[in-house]
């Protein structure tokens, strides 16, 4: 059934047909016809943000916590350029997102019209794909394709730029079933020969490790279950990147914790010492590998990834398997079982004995802060007091983010939303709102630093208006903590611009936004404050004053290898040599 309608109505119809229930956006001149259509319907909820960057991070939070694409609606010019950071963030972390932007009318494009920007030009390198729609007849078709591209293969952000005259004009609506089928359809099944070769490797390996990433979570909850089954059945230890936390439960018996620059000692030592590394949906990021020449020198490396360009990009692997993690793990388990569930048990026992030794180092130990709240303690208490709750965590970027990854435990996927690849300060608050909109009854906590939090604090207005009872757990050290830490290690303790003066009163600020404000500065009152934050029915900002000069450890100083970690017990020493020029 083809239907005649305006372009603006097509946009809303296409979103409905794609199963969209919420759009994060901000109106403006070039999207007024679409806003007029949104006004006249009740199926799609619109969340009014305070800044378009906020909309993109909300969409990311929504997408990461549901597995569905997040949808953003912005106007032309500044509306679109403000969306660039969130799109880049989603591209780096493979988050499905569809951004619809208004554009000046087609006959004005190129004339430097008011609020005109070359949006497809600007967003080309920060989107998986983008389109400028010049004819209303092609609009619905393009939006359906956009959803297809955003969610197929390695997910990512896409943008559809819609000139205002295209929104006003009438055209024929194309339903999703009749949309032009894109040739873009990456295969999901892995090569069986390669998977069988991996089974052989698993059967013989003496010191195997599973190194998992965000790809497991992107593949869907079934992939996480299969991963858990694989590890539990074979006894292979699991470590994960920042993006992959929750895919294997933190309470699982084979869990080593996060790896990488601020990963756990046992995880990094196991990566260094393994003889078989099975990378599942991760990408050998520089935060993970440390010094490349010394990265896991004695292992065979297997890489399971849906994106062929991830393979051999950074680390040369011995066996690539291209496809969807869930499909490949299913085949892998089936073949391994059919060949008699073999592992090298004797060698595994020795391997685990090593790992237990590394665990006994207790790399997350920290000194008691006396009357001062240690940030690690704050997170330990948050973990203890929210255990077993229907809990989602977002973070900003910096020390608090790494501490959260170390001290909070995730037993299920889609519960942990953080800006990994791009490292976007200001991500956490809007992301927490996006998560809360998707899960209205859940406890959604943004673990924040005060500096990051201020970058998008205007979204507290969104939280209040859209009744999103998000909890902002701010670890306030009045410092740009990670910058300060690097200046201590790298720049002779010259703390250039890394402290915050004139910080706002976060309690009053919360109240000004119609939220509840709390402050705590003594360990004795910490539990009570956290309980109060959780119990309050509405958005809360908890300003948790913590130790100002705490370093985030353990740490692989840049330019070092996995077995050259800085532990809390070590003297903190300066980074020199080649490492000093790395980021």
């Amino acid at each position: 059934m083809s239907q005649q309608m305006t372009g603006a109505r097509m946009v809303v119809q296409a979103l409905k047909d794609q199963g969209v229930d919420v759009v994060f956006g901000y109106p403006g001149g070039a999207v007024l016809p679409i806003y007029d259509e949104l006004f006249q319907q009740n199926e799609i909820r619109h969340v009014l943000v305070r800044h378009e960057q906020g909309a993109t991070h909300m969409a990311e939070g929504y997408a990461r916590s549901t597995g569905k694409p997040g949808v953003v609606l912005v106007t032309s010019g500044p509306g679109a350029t403000n969306a660039v950071t969130g799109m880049t963030d989603a591209l780096m972390d493979s988050i499905p997102m569809v951004v619809l932007s208004g554009q000046v009318p087609t006959f004005m494009i190129g004339n430097d019209a008011f609020q005109e920007a070359d949006t497809v030009g600007i967003t080309r390198p920060c989107s998986k794909h983008n389109w400028l729609v010049r004819e209303t007849d092609k609009l619905a078709d393009t939006i359906h394709q956009a959803f297809h591209v955003a969610t197929t293969g390695r997910p990512g952000p896409v943008l559809v730029d819609i000139p205002k005259d295209v929104q006003f004009a009438e055209g024929t609506y194309t339903p999703p079933a009749k949309a032009r089928v894109s040739h873009y359809n990456p295969p999901v099944k892995g090569d069986i020969t390669a998977i069988t070769a991996l089974v052989e490797m698993i059967e013989k390996a003496e010191r195997p490790i599973l190194y998992t990433g965000g790809g497991v979570i992107n593949s869907g909850p079934a992939a996480s279950q299969l991963l858990t089954e694989l590890s539990d059945a074979t006894g292979i230890p699991v470590t994960s990147t920042l993006m992959g936390l929750g895919a294997y439960p933190a309470s699982g018996k084979n869990w080593l914790g996060m790896l990488g620059m601020h990963g756990l000692y046992e995880a990094n030592m196991a990566m260094h010492g393994c003889d078989l590394m099975i990378n599942i949906g991760a990408r050998f990021d520089d935060r993970i590998t440390g010094r490349l020449e010394a990265f896991s020198p004695n292992s065979l490396k297997v890489h399971i990834d849906i994106d062929p360009s991830s393979v051999n990009k950074v680390v040369r692997v011995d066996l690539p398997i291209i496809g969807d993690v869930g499909h490949i793990l299913e085949d892998l388990l089936r073949i391994w079982k059919s060949r008699g569930r073999k592992v090298n048990s004797q060698a595994h026992a020795k391997w685990w004995a090593h790992i237990e030794e590394w665990k006994s180092v207790n790399c997350l130990a920290f000194k008691d802060g006396g009357d001062i709240i240690k940030p690690q303690l704050a997170l330990q208490r948050l973990e203890a007091l929210t255990k077993g709750m229907d809990r989602y965590i977002t973070t900003e970027v910096g020390q608090h983010q790494m501490w959260a990854a170390q001290y909070l435990h995730f037993d299920a996927p889609n519960r942990w939303m953080t800006s990994g690849g791009l490292g976007t300060m200001g991500y956490g608050l809007p992301a927490s709102i996006g998560v809360q909109i998707a899960h209205p009854e859940a406890l959604v906590i943004n673990v924040a630093g005060e500096a990051s939090w201020l970058m998008n604090m205007q979204e507290m207005g969104t939280a209040s208006q859209s009744r999103a009872p998000v909890k902002q757990f701010i670890l306030n050290n009045e410092r740009l903590g990670m910058v300060r830490q690097w200046q201590q290690l790298l720049h002779g303790e010259r703390y250039s611009q890394s402290w915050s003066e004139s910080l706002p009163d976060f309690v009053k600020l919360a109240e000004a936004f119609g939220a509840k404000g709390l402050r705590v500065d003594h360990p004795d009152q910490l539990d009570e404050a956290i309980r109060e934050m959780i119990a309050y029915d509405g958005p809360v900002v908890l300003d948790c004053m913590v130790e100002k000069h705490e370093n985030c450890l353990p740490m692989i100083p840049s330019g070092n290898a996995h077995n050259e970690m800085l532990l809390p017990s070590d003297e903190v020493r300066a980074i020199t040599g080649a490492g000093a020029s790395l980021v």
């Binding site: 080309r124 794909h129 052989e200 994106d307 062929p308 360009s309 040369r316 066996l319 690539p320």
Partner: protein, 186 residues
């Protein structure tokens, strides 16, 4: 426990695994990229090269299938085998890209470039230019009493050689198309 158990040509392997993938030698490869002829397609390809720091030695593009709206982009690029493989998989990831062919490793190929050269001179130099042009099978496509415009087709090195010879004889301008290439055989 060796990845070599995998059959050659299986999709888990690069189709080009006869080369040493660990080599640090810089190779020159000619890639043919078939794309939808849509606005921005070329910008995506070029943006990939500039954004990721790859080299472009030469690039030609034109619509080759008017009905299917497909264009063929021929790119000559350089890099270690690892970088070349990266370039190919990054190209294949661009949504409007349908096919990526590495003509350098997919058997032999025919490569041609067209150049138009203006040579200004009088007397012996002028005669010598014309004589050399005949040897190189360059055509004269424009002539005045003081100048020739030559048209020359061939592999890039042939054009380089001809331009080098023309330089002392009064080469004043040169326009080159960049390489177009096709695999040999059926």
């Amino acid at each position: 426990m060796s990845p070599l158990n995998i059959q050659q040509g299986s999709s888990a392997h690069s189709a080009y695994d006869l080369r040493d993938p660990y080599s640090e030698v810089i190779e020159t490869h000619t890639l043919a990229v078939i794309v939808d002829n849509e606005p921005g397609a070329l910008a995506r390809v070029i943006g990939l090269f500039s954004g990721r720091g790859y080299n472009i030695e030469s690039l030609t593009v034109a619509e080759t299938d008017h009905q299917g709206h497909r264009s063929r982009i021929t790119i000559v690029t350089t890099g270690t085998p690892q970088v070349i493989d990266q370039i190919k998989s990054q190209l294949a990831r661009i949504i409007p890209v349908h096919e990526v062919h590495d003509l350098t490793v997919e058997g032999t190929s025919v490569e041609r470039e067209l150049a138009i050269l203006k040579v200004v001179g009088k007397g012996d130099a002028r005669i010598e230019a014309l004589r050399l042009a005949e040897i190189f099978r360059a055509n004269v496509v424009d002539s005045t009493l003081e100048s020739f415009v030559f048209e020359l087709t061939g592999v890039p090195s042939k054009i380089d050689a001809f331009a080098d010879l023309m330089r002392p004889l009064g080469l004043s301008e040169i326009a080159r198309t960049g390489v177009a290439a096709l695999a040999r055989g059926a």
